[in-house]
Assembly symmetry: C2
């Protein structure tokens, strides 16, 4: 038995033929992809310009059946993505080291989603403001409500992109190592070392006025 | 002052013209990129097939001035990369949430390297075995020495790729939020919440024989 499972959703006409097509996608696949995305703060955005692939880390947030990305309006990347350049956004969590009895069977536990498609810019002011709020809230839930509203100048300086969460694959591995039966008695420790992204103690900005308490959403960290 | 610094090395003839050319690359840039890579276990590998970009998470290890990747010989991805498909491997660490007084100035601390180029397969048996050992050792230093040697069948089932670490950019942000001077007195907590990938308690495989101690390199975790 292998602990690796592959959950595939539809791919566009150009994408890998091993991916299943849209009508076959179940809500279970979507729920898995959504959970992986909602656990993440960044994704890796891939695209090609003049034959050269680029992979750029960017903040991500899910808004229902789409992924939100944002960046500066002057960024060449944002302009190209907003113009509908095909892209792939991959979100990965490394959940553990899988220590098998051999190097060959050693692995990692992980959860990963690849989203394929073309993004478009969100320009309607209310929708744009709401999308940017979502990205801020993804950084740290509860934070957004404490901050002032963005100015018109700030909104104009920011491009918000929406990528439909329609063409995607999710792939995960969990559980213990999967050594062949004839190697399970090898006298070497085998198992999993879990890994997770953990917050450390908050570090106050040196220029903060005295008398400001740590907010509720940061206590206990 | 911004805490963001960009360290750029050469780009190939096809790559972003804003990147500096090879002769200008300093050893400081290389040392920074190497340190970022050496802190990572995975990278995101981007490439384009038939007009569709893909970004795939893969284990990475640095061997001097190159990046090593490995995978199954039957993988279409490995075959394409071994054939010299242009790729970009991006390695990113999220080091913290940067909580500014406004959403607009909020950010993340991170370290990221983008490596551009074309990989080739390592076929010389000793070099290949040594490269695979390096990838295992990157998973967990000290582990490799406890494991048996790979069989010829295992070696033949694995493709090892070497991507020169010659064309790259490194980009980092660290330090506190950088609010404009007129917002530093806003009565909102500002600062950084550090984030790091932390190991949890090792979980022994359920099929492990009794009497095998936790190895030295896992104690204290």
């Amino acid at each position: 038995m292998t602990a690796t499972t592959k959950h595939s959703a539809a791919a566009g006409p150009r994408a890998d033929t091993r991916l299943r097509r849209l009508p076959e996608r179940g809500s279970k696949d979507f729920d898995l992809a959504a959970a992986i995305i909602d656990d993440a703060r960044i994704g890796h955005v891939g695209f090609t310009l003049e034959g050269q692939p680029y992979v750029v880390p960017m903040a991500v947030a899910r808004d229902g059946h789409s992924l939100l990305l944002h960046g500066s309006v002057v960024s060449r990347l944002m302009k190209n993505l907003a113009a509908g350049l095909p892209c792939c956004v991959t979100i990965t969590h490394v959940d553990g080291l899988v220590l098998a009895r051999s190097a060959f069977h050693s692995s990692m536990n992980y959860r990963s989603v690849m989203v394929f498609g073309r993004a478009h810019a969100v320009t309607e002011p209310d929708e744009k403001a709401r999308g940017l709020d979502l990205l801020t809230d993804r950084l740290l839930p509860g934070r957004r409500a404490e901050l002032r509203q963005p100015t018109r100048k700030e909104l104009n300086a920011t491009t918000l992109l929406r990528l439909p969460l329609e063409q995607f694959t999710a792939k995960t591995r969990d559980g213990p190592p999967d050594d062949p039966a004839n190697e399970r008695d090898v006298p070497v420790w085998a198992g999993v070392v879990p890994l997770s992204l953990q917050p450390g103690a908050p570090e106050a900005a040196p220029d903060m006025p005295a008398g400001i308490d740590l907010p509720r959403y940061l206590r206990g960290r």
